[in-house]
Amino acid sequence: MQPSRREFVQWVTASGIALSLSRLALAEEPSFAARQTLPGRQRWNPAATGVGRIDGVAKVTGAKLYASDFRAADMPGWPATTSHAILVRAPDATHVYTGMDLGRLKGALEPAVVVTADDLARIGTRVPAFYAGDLLCPIGKTPLYLGQPVALLIFEHFDAFDQARLALRDGTFVRFGEETGPIVGPNYGAFRFTRVAGPTPDAPDVYSPIQAGWISPARIQDSALPVWSPLARQTPANYAKGAVYGEQIRAELAAKDPTLLVLDREFETQSVDPMFLEPEAGLAWFSGDSSKLELVLGVQSPYDAAEAVAFMLGKARAPFKPARINSHFAYMGGGFGGRDHTPFMLYLALAGMFFPGRPVRLAHDRYQQFQGGIKRHAFKMRSQIGVDRTTGKIRAFAADHVLDGGGLANYSPNVATVAATAAIGIYDVPKVDVTTVALHSRGVTAGSMRGYGTLQTMTALEVLIDETSAALSLDPIEFRRRNALGPNGRTMTGNPYTVSVRTPEILDKLEKHPIWRDRAQEKALGAQGGKLVGTGVACVTKDYGSGADCSFGKIEIDREGRISIHCDHVEMGTAVGTAVANRVALHLGAVADEITLAQIDAFDELALVTSGDPYTMDQKTQDAAARNPRWVPSLSTVTTASIGAHVGTQAAAEAARVILRFGLWPAALELWRIPATDPRAKQWETAAWKDGHLTMPDLAPLPLARLAATAHSRNLVTGASTHAFSRWAWSRARFQVAGVSWTADIDALAVRRGDGKFQRLDRSSVAFPPTDNNRIGTTYTSLCGTLVRVEIERASGALNIAKAYSVLECGRTLVPEVVRGQAQGGFAMGVGYALLESLPPYEGGPGNGQWNLGQYLIARGSDLPLRDLEIEMLPPLTPDEPPKGMAEVVMIPVVPALLNAIFDATGHRFQSLPVTQKILKGALA
């Protein structure tokens, strides 16, 4: 199949460079694909489990979809030949870099272009703040981190590239001189989260981050770790105030109060790789004639990626500053956070700029992906918990987290805060004090990865909770029930959740499950058979959303009732497109024929503008900006933080509601001959779709096609385009549509009537979520509990997961089979993290460029209970409960549940990860 492409154009100016972004379309029109795949199943049936994915046919037929699939010859208008680049990285970060052994690349192997730090200095590139650090290590400096790039080698033809890459892979191509030890850098961020609840649950907090703001200790230059004491030199006043409360909590825990059980434990987690299966890859072509740089990429953050490239080249001297950058965004072969803000596209763009006129491909192999790809942070944690021995209620919790951020800051400060604010999990704790600091190191850069720090802190917590229950002789589920945070209770930052909190239901499900119920019996049976059998439980809650998330959505319905959707979110396996289509179908009665993702340039009709940083803006600035009816706090965000269902589908769903209310509903009234004066004329929200027909009691069902035809012929609303923004609450705005006031969780709206053009409707009022919400840890959360039963062979330490069960709640599931699949995949990734995966942080680790999957083990089918893994999704609390993010939460309880099961089986309480067969064997010897 040959790919077809659609181009969308919008120019965004950054650094004087015009930007445009387009998406590489599916190999076939989705409507065709959908028809060919599942004939007769396109009609929306809420009872059906699903209708297949919109990308189904493309993915089983090997269509060109991923960035790594494209070569110059696949891009219309490009030269036919692809050149190839190698990004050379330093396998050492304790010696001075002295240059490359280019002598071994002579003759046919000689690169056409060698790009070094000198060249970047010469042309005047800038490093975007997010990626601060030398893009290429200059000669004479010690690399900032293992795997830091030192040069780009560009080869005109594949054969030379192919042979050269063998010639330089032995780890001695990059040369080093004098030993300097690692570069010491300041920490990436240090924070303290302290909360002291009032005397009763209803009383205001004595102190909380939401009241007092987030606090950081003073930066002290000559110390790697912050000084947390409120009495330290140069301590900011707001920090000192919070720290005094924090120190009081610690003093209480240390007071040897006989009524208080105090456990004080350390826990360490390892560095791991997201190991998405498609290594990072892309194409770049700088056409000197038109001064246009074209990029083909697969990233979770298209908008930011394009802007970062524009910034890098924005002040470059001619001819290294392109007039335009056009980026094409492809489907991704996995992401898991690891494709969110990686510096890869900067090097890709440089490869293109330094070989003008020739399309250049830069693609990691797996060794390079291990060497250069973003990693999960390794954590060192100390946790103290104080529990009232009589009531079994947690009185206080204190923790100290140290994150290894690796060589570049990347998302380290954010991971640290998200991890810290998740550190009390599902529990209601009146006194909490958590410090966290992310350190620079010579390790490979750590950043975003599924769980985003909470995997680490909640694993430590749930293992500690298990131990605490045992110390109190309380059943671990009963202990959790006693301490679970209620729906209106306050989180660590001092705010309640604004979504359903269904901990008791989840705990009940866990408690009644046969894996839990039969645990003693199974343990005894195992003992008879010479096996160590154990059962573990864990239950966690995980935020979704980043605190400034948005989506674009545009729906059009034609005369035949065919629906097309445009959306700005991207696809990395999570079926965002299918979720959008299914959510729209709830309102419009049919699954769309055309779904186009990863677009930010198909919404010109909204003519939106933005300014400022939505995370740090003050209220006054926001209020002033909001007076412009076209202003929004953010245009397009990263597809990350489990927001696909919740945020990614929001704008499209709201657009669909507008079409229903102002297009299909008035058409239905006409066909039913219901006059405006009839009370039923206002009951549009009670109408229901059934088998593609709009139904009302005692009225003839109306097929969608007929409604669409009527809406078109009567010039009713047949298209809507919207933008939605969330800062732990949706923006809400009022519009006048067809003379009717319409209020919805969107901040921009344009509509199309009949076959006309889209027209923007200025909002008559808007309420953006307050900027104080930036002090919230989260208000959106989903729950998941997991049970596992393990069987361990004492002699070998071999562990078999006999059975497992995960129960989760995520509001209304848009594509139930994908939710189930995510839970199964999360289970597998949890097993890998708990039992298999590990990367040494520094020398000997992935930065040496010699790591691959023989050494780095991820879970295979044989590591998993493929026939005994049960996933249960709680039905939504109400039929219209919004979808909640769940892609991360499903992974997390798997890890502590495994550790708790291992304890149950062996009596060993492991406090570091992973627990490999070798470690188990050693512990059991």
Partner: protein, 200 residues
């Protein structure tokens, strides 16, 4: 004379010990003549076998003489990835045969070792986890060496092409110590000196 002899034995014993402590060059083999100073034939034979043990216990050899049904790989001797099993004929299970990846010769770009005979040693020839003395007695036992006479081992170790691969293992793998011919010479000398085994 006698005094000198004892010194030599002591030195040899020390060198063998040191070899296993990692201070002697593990990449080389000492030739059979070096052992001529050991008067006691049995002790000499056992010492020669101990030298040969550098080869036999090297990951290039042990990885495919595993204790179970799954080979090992790499200089660390980690379990083979992807998971494979010896199957009915030592050439893998039907779903994943050794020859699928391990073809006629090493394929350097993929760091993939190859040989036309690539397969696992039979289960009874497992060396993994065994002491050199145990391996030695096993090698001599026709029931556990493929029905070979000890003389045939000279050929098996000295000239067999699959065994020979251990000295040309390709990128990323340490070759077995010495050369195949040197290993063959050690086997021959060991057989000729009575094929005695180290006690441990």
């Amino acid at each position: 004379m006698r005094v000198k002899f004892f010194v030599l034995v002591a030195a040899l014993a020390a060198s063998v010990l040191a070899a296993y402590a990692g201070t002697v060059d593990q990449t080389k083999l000492v030739p059979p003549e070096s052992f001529e100073g050991i008067a006691d034939a049995e002790a000499r034979s056992a010492a020669i076998f101990t030298e040969l043990g550098k080869v036999l216990t090297h990951p290039r050899c042990v990885n495919c003489h595993p204790a179970g049904d799954r080979p090992r790989q790499g200089d660390e001797g980690r379990l083979h990835q992807p998971p494979v099993a010896r199957g009915p004929d030592g050439h893998g299970r039907e779903a994943l045969r050794c020859q699928t990846c391990h073809q006629q010769a090493n394929f350097e770009p993929g760091r993939m070792p190859g040989n036309s005979e690539w397969h696992l040693a039979p289960r009874e020839m497992a060396w993994e986890g065994k002491t050199l003395g145990e391996i030695c007695r096993q090698i001599k036992d026709p029931a556990r060496n493929g029905g070979r006479k000890v003389e045939e081992l000279i050929h098996h170790i000295g000239t067999d092409t699959l065994v020979g691969w251990a000295w040309k293992p390709g990128f990323g793998r340490t070759p077995a110590p010495g050369t195949q011919a040197e290993a063959g010479a050690l086997v021959e000398a060991w057989v000729k000196t009575g094929a005695a085994c180290p006690s441990k």
